[in-house]
């Protein structure tokens, strides 16, 4: 292939404008496609973010009803209703555990992170995290794996309200370098000081798009409000459908003044997860359009470049060149320009990646997207060049002579 480079370079010099435009087009196309792939990969991670628990046996129950006319009794009434619902749900056959949960579970837009503080041997520490109000039964509902200490048992211990369970992420941030956590006090912006009683494996109970979503502080306060209550029910293995039907029966139908929602809990159904899937699809369509533009433009110009050098092709054929030589010449020429464009594109892409890091936390520019984009563009251009070159190379050399 090397002995083609001389004619190729000469050919490039004769059509500098055209090939410069090819180079720029490939470079900007490379940058666009790579950015789309990086963004799409970033969104795609939220389709399958490991939430840290098996959601399949879980059923989400929520009840919305107006506040009572007497606001003074509203809180007590709400607590009584919540306890009653809890008892009724627990009484359903094949229900393993039920825990009240807050509205923010997997709904990202109604919660902001808060600051937590702790005192370690080496000084104070602060970390952002999320508060999750629930119940000791949460451990059984979500099958939380305890790393340190003991998850509170379901008791009426008044000390429960001053206890907190941290996920491993938050534990490492508040008590780094192996500092002891159990028994230590944690201060939070939205809750009274609490004593760490256990550390569990990371779970995502909040916005998966937030890089701090693993860092949870589980508190034991009633998450129900005067107007709404939510529960997570864990069914026995293989009994989710049965339990679902039973829960719907127990909870009753909605009415104009009461909204009851009972459905299997699936993190993939969360709003952010659906948005992420939609964005991946739209970005894929965008990428396809980029590839089509590259193909159409390259094919048309390649056809022209072949036709424009019909005389050259005729002479080469007349001097003994085979169709293979002709095709190879055009493919080499095309590849040189495309590789040049990819080279320029790599530099621009690196700059764009630095910009993306601020907007897409954790995004990584690995070799795979670069290789894929480069191969795609090269293949695009090669096919677009190969077809007209092949056609011209197979024609009768005598007929290739210009009139």
């Amino acid at each position: 292939m090397f002995w083609e480079l001389g004619p190729v370079v000469r050919g490039l010099r004769r059509r500098t404008g055209t090939f410069a435009l090819v180079l720029l087009e490939v470079a900007s196309g490379f940058t666009t496609l790579t950015a789309l792939i990086l963004a799409g990969t970033w969104y795609r991670q939220f389709n399958s973010v490991p939430v840290g628990f098996d959601h399949r046996p879980l059923i989400a129950v929520s009840v919305q009803s107006p506040a009572p006319e007497d606001p003074a009794r509203a809180a007590a009434d709400a607590e009584a209703r919540s306890q009653q619902t809890l008892s009724r749900l627990r009484a359903i056959p094949h229900v393993e555990a039920v825990a009240p949960v807050p509205a923010v579970m997997m709904d990202p837009r109604e919660n902001y992170p808060i600051r937590l503080h702790a005192q370690t041997g080496s000084g104070p520490s602060t970390a952002p995290g999320w508060t999750f109000d629930s119940h000791p039964a949460l451990a059984q509902v979500l099958q939380l794996r305890t790393r340190e200490g003991r998850f509170p048992a379901e008791t009426t211990d008044p000390q429960l309200t001053s206890a907190v369970v941290l996920t491993h992420c938050l534990r490492e941030r508040l008590f780094p370098e192996g500092a002891p956590a159990i028994g230590r006090t944690v201060l939070a912006e939205d809750a009274a000081p609490a004593r760490v009683v256990a550390v569990v494996e990371n779970v995502v109970l909040g916005d998966p798009w937030n890089m701090q979503s693993n860092c949870q502080a589980i508190r034991f306060r009633s998450p129900a409000t005067e107007r709404d209550a939510r529960f997570m029910v864990r069914a026995s293995p293989g009994q989710q459908e049965q339990v679902l039907a039973a829960v719907r029966l127990v909870m009753g139908e909605s009415s104009p003044a009461r909204l009851v929602t009972v459905q299997p809990f699936d993190p993939a159904d969360a709003h952010r997860a659906r948005m992420a899937r939609g964005l991946v699809l739209t970005l894929a369509v965008f990428g396809a359009i980029v590839a089509i533009i590259a193909l159409v433009g390259t094919f048309t110009v390649s056809s022209f470049l072949v036709r424009d050098r019909i005389r050259t092709i005729a002479i080469r054929r007349a001097l003994g060149g085979t169709p293979r030589h002709i095709v190879r010449f055009f493919l080499v020429e095309n590849s040189v320009v495309v590789l040049g464009g990819i080279g320029v594109g790599l530099i621009v892409t690196w700059g764009l990646y630095l910009l993306m890091r601020g907007l897409y936390p954790g995004v990584q520019l690995g070799w795979r997207p670069l290789l894929f984009t480069g191969l795609l563009l090269w293949l695009d251009a090669t096919i677009a060049a190969w077809l007209p070159a092949r056609r011209a190379a197979r024609a009768n050399p005598a007929r290739l002579q210009p009139a």
Partner: protein, 433 residues
């Protein structure tokens, strides 16, 4: 003369239909994506409306929410904005009721149960906003039909509501308000006084921290918030709070957005004195911002939306290079014809103009065809992504921007090829022939 040139240009394009089609396809595809990018960008980053410059908001010093200092996109932004634009309920009480401003409104959002009075469907939980009567005139919300509630209705605690257009359409199948329309809100009958026209901005000036959420579906008098025990949708905690609703109202949790209208200098000075007495004297920093100052302070940040929209601009650039390449090839393939034109006396300028006219025709057609690409992509985005219930939409402004820039890109891409084509020497072709 122009008509003759146009006919020549069309004739030239028809003779090289392959090139013309390729240019059309390339520029239309890129133009369509560019138009979508513009639509989406302006949905998020459009200008704040030109409201009265006498509107003011007070910023009090609060604890910032803990977000990573680099921009993380919208969650970071709304959290920060909430800290700077919202106040607690006790602070709201101190800011309101002075009698100084000509108009004032506090506002916050909650989820409320709403159902049709026919009772033929399950209720739905919708984001609803509690506002004072002056809210509608202060923020110039367009009423498609009916009216807003008055101060006297608010003071009397009347069960009245203004509905958003989408909710009214869902409940009653129409945008027009019929007389004596009633809706069941939180189990109570509320009289519907008016229906807001159209969709609200994605970044509503009255409460920018609610950006990127579904729009307000209903507007109720502020006093109903305490009667309904309506907890705010988003809170910024400053310290631990008890579990009762009244604990929340007594706490320093931030959730109320408060605005005043101070049309005269005297009112501004009087209100500033009040702020000094209530907050300054306690050593609490405060800032009274006018609406124009507020607009500058809370300009939309760079977001992922802006980045993705900029990729569509990059695609238009890719198309520009491709179009330039195609036009160059087209011009070279017409050397013979152009050489004859030169030989017959056509000037370089005439050739240049002719080539530019052809490119202009193609660009215009492609720019308009790009709308046919943009519309289905917009529909796909609204359906598949459905981030909020304010859809990405093609408006007059986005149509002009989308097609205009695409058209200009086509012309710019044609400059070099047209110049090259105009340099075709006549002698060469005369000699050959």
């Amino acid at each position: 003369m122009l008509l003759y040139q146009l006919r020549l240009a069309i004739f030239g394009l028809r003779r090289q239909a392959g090139y013309a089609l390729a240019i059309l396809v390339v520029l239309a595809l890129a133009g369509g994506m560019w138009t979508f990018g513009v639509c989406r960008y302006l949905r998020h980053h459009g200008r704040y409306p030109d409201l009265s410059p006498t509107l003011h908001q007070v910023e009090l010093a609060h604890l910032e929410t803990p977000t990573i200092t680099r921009i993380q996109g919208n969650t970071h932004t709304t959290a920060t904005w909430a800290t700077h634009t919202r106040v607690s309920f006790p602070e709201y009480r101190q800011l309101a009721g002075s009698g100084i401003p000509a108009r004032e409104t506090g506002t916050y959002r909650s989820r409320l149960l709403v159902a049709s009075p026919r009772g033929d469907a399950a209720p739905e939980l919708v984001p609803s906003r509690f506002v004072n009567a002056d809210f509608f005139s202060m923020f110039e919300l367009p009423l498609g039909s009916g009216r807003a509630f008055t101060r006297s209705e608010e003071a009397a605690g009347a069960a009245v509501v203004v509905l958003g257009q989408r909710l009214h359409r869902r409940l009653f199948g129409t945008d027009r308000l019929e007389p004596a329309t009633v809706v069941i809100l939180e189990g109570r009958r509320f009289r519907v006084l008016g229906v807001i026209e159209g969709d609200q901005p994605v970044r509503p000036a009255w409460d920018i921290a609610s950006m990127d959420s579904n729009q307000d579906a209903a507007y109720l008098p502020f006093g109903w918030s305490t009667r309904l025990l309506a907890r705010p949708m988003t809170l910024v905690p400053q310290s631990p709070v008890g579990d009762r609703f009244d604990h929340l109202l007594d706490s320093d949790t931030l959730f109320v957005s408060f605005w005043v209208d101070l049309p005269t200098d005297e009112q501004r000075r009087a209100y500033a004195r009040r702020l000094q007495e209530r907050f300054g004297a306690e050593g609490r920093p405060y800032l009274l911002r006018s609406y124009p100052e507020w607009r500058q302070a809370f300009a939309p940040p760079h977001t992922r939306v802006a980045f993705l929209s900029s990729l569509s601009a990059l695609l238009l650039l890719v198309a520009g290079f491709s179009v330039a390449r195609l036009l160059l090839a087209k011009g070279i393939s017409r050397r013979g014809e152009l050489g004859v034109h030169r030989a017959l006396g056509a000037t370089q300028r005439a050739l240049f103009a002719g080539q530019m006219l052809e490119a202009g025709l193609l660009s215009l057609t492609a720019a308009l065809a790009g709308i046919l690409v943009a519309l289905p992509y917009i529909a796909l985005f609204n359906h598949a992504v459905a981030d909020i219930d304010i859809p990405v939409r093609l408006t007059g402004q986005t149509f002009l921007l989308g097609t205009g820039v695409c058209f200009v890109m086509g012309l710019v891409a044609a400059l070099y090829p047209s110049w090259r084509a105009s340099k075709t020497p006549p002698a060469l072709y005369m000699e050959r022939r």
